[in-house]
Amino acid sequence: MTLKALFAASASAALLLALPANAAELTIGFSQIGSESGWRAAETSVSKQEAAKRKVNLKIADAQQKQENQIKAIRSFIAQNVDAIFLAPVVATGWDAVLKEAKEAKIPVVLLDRDIDPSGKDLYLTAVTSDSVHEGEVAGDWLAKTVGDKACNIVELQGTVGASVAANRKKGFDTAVAKHANLKIVRSQTGDFTRAKGKEVMESFIKAEGGGKNICAVYAHNDDMMVGAIQAMKEAGLKPGKDILTVSIDAVPDIFKAMVAGEANATVELTPNMAGPAFDAVAAFKEKGTVPPKWIQTESRLLTATDNPQKEYDSKKGLGY
């Protein structure tokens, strides 16, 4: 119970205060980006859970989407002489100076969820990220397997134009689909990663493709756009999940709600558990001196309607998505 209380204290805003170290084996400072999305909130809550599991004293600093706050937080972690620093970098560049300071203080830094530029250098111990090209491939492979030999016209809801995640998820899906001559992406348009735009774009896809009769599957770069697209299909008198197959990426709770209702088919999980593998890597490094690989790739799990979506929904809904 005391540990839990300690935890609540460390999670609260004044977490930069030094806490007694004897309650935990390791003290780790985590510079989190801020609350930019539901996934980010889930990552923070899962990090706390994983830390509690391992009796790690985790100090989270919320940077409110600002790099200067992250740099300040890292300097403060160095001053407190923490055992390791986790960093979810808000931007890719401009980290050299502060990471050198951490290196001089002999504090290992682990990047979570995003890599920095220049990548792979000596400035950090390892980066725990997912491979968004691979996520797209997993989605494409599922579709190819599900459709079989039938001809299938796919419409694609892209993420924000210029976002690297969107480009990668498109690239991976294109690669998987290109292997099958019967699969064809007939329309592709950006839905800006939002429900409202996903719905609007899907409405236009349906009209442009003969009231939706020519569409066999929808691929969305994130689940939120798919939730919007599902509404658009329903309003057009189509049955999403049956008339039109759906596959998207992220695995947010609401897509499982749609799966339970039979309106969505598959999603590829972008796990919010980036901290778990990072804790293990740091522990191994500290105890046995094992140097982890420069990149720890998280698993991109495929979850379909047959994978007990209700259970997934229940386990995810409390995480802050």
Binding site: Q189, D192, R195, A196, E200, S204, K207, A208, E235
Partner: protein, 330 residues
């Protein structure tokens, strides 16, 4: 009510017709309409339906601009009011939800109006405060997540239909008529224009300019609130990060396309709404065209430039001179 339909507006109507024609070319089924579950279904309906939030915003924005002001906070107000509506929808009845959301919009408008009219701040700075802070407030309400609801009453507001016409479209039309009746059915419109034309002279002439300015910001807040509720009802959830994002710019654009000068002094409600429809007709056309999304903004910019050039007095003067020259030297 003849004042509602101004003599000017030919350029806007022409632009709308041209864009509709282009839409028909890129998408042959553009004008097809059918009934789907008691609701009209077709691209034309999409234009009206999707154009509603910006049309509502432009109704408030045009009055603010007429007083030589500007309201950058409408997108954020949409997010706040959508968040409030979504959070309350499943535990309270629709009138309570609407009252809370519109009340919040009214308070936001009062805040802006207070800063501009009472404290004398420049409108662009005064409303920038709420533009930045408002999204944070909305995120606090939703705790950073997308708050979903199932209340059929609120869902109806976004996705229902009255005699086949989507409810948002009916609401926007109702608001246009209401606003028009209030400002043009009385001297209010004239007083607003006087305030924008020359606030000091109007003040000396006995116009309550402070009250006028306060009133237009409040109305702008209420319109934004309604747009926010409709946007939330549409996706059955409030997305504080994205609801109404950058729509303040679309609303200003709609007003400008509608021929209202940013220097205030005159305005047209109908043309502002027409401006919103022009923007949406173009957006829907782009989506239907099948062009890669990288072109979206480029196409939009070119079309907006063309529409504004069409209205430019210098350019129409130039065209007139050219025509006269041609007539003189055949």
């Amino acid at each position: 009510m003849t004042a509602l339909l101004p003599r000017r507006g030919l350029a806007q109507i022409l632009a709308l017709i041209v864009i509709l024609a282009v839409d028909r070319v890129v998408s042959p089924q553009f004008f097809d309409l059918r009934l789907q579950d008691g609701r009209l279904f077709g691209s034309l309906i999409d234009v009206l339906d999707r154009g509603t939030p910006v049309a509502l915003l432009s109704l408030g924005m045009v009055l603010v601009i007429a007083t030589r002001g500007i309201d950058l906070s409408v997108g954020a107000v949409m997010a706040i009011c959508g968040a409030i509506a979504a959070s309350l929808a499943d535990s309270y009845s629709l009138p309570v939800v609407l009252a809370a959301a519109l009340g919040a919009g009214l308070v936001c408008g009062l805040w802006n109006g207070f800063l501009v009219a009472v404290l004398g701040m420049q409108p662009i700075v005064a409303t920038l405060i709420l533009m930045v802070a408002g999204r944070g407030i909305a995120q606090l309400i939703t705790e950073g997540r997308i708050v979903t609801f199932t209340s059929p009453d609120l869902v109806w507001l976004g996705n229902g239909a009255i005699l086949g016409v989507p409810v948002p479209v009916v609401i926007a039309l109702g608001m246009l008529i209401l606003t028009g009746a209030v400002v043009r059915g009385s001297a209010l419109g004239l007083l607003i224009e006087a305030t924008g034309g020359n606030a000091r002279a109007s003040e000396l002439a006995g116009v309550g300019t402070r009250a006028m300015i306060l009133a237009v910001y409040v109305w702008c807040g209420v319109c934004a609130a309604l747009a926010g509720v409709i946007a939330a009802a549409d996706i059955m959830g409030a997305d504080a990060n994205n609801a109404g994002l950058w729509l303040e710019l679309d609303a200003i654009l709609a007003v400008v396309i509608g021929g209202t000068s940013l220097f205030g002094g005159r305005f047209s409600l109908v043309l502002a709404v027409l401006g919103a429809l022009i923007i949406q007709t173009m957006n829907t056309g782009i989506l239907l065209s099948g062009y890669p999304p990288e072109f979206n903004l480029l196409v939009k910019a070119v079309v907006v430039l063309a529409v504004l050039l069409l209205q430019s007095p210098k350019l129409s003067g130039f065209a007139g001179i050219m025509a006269r020259l041609r007539r003189a030297n055949p």
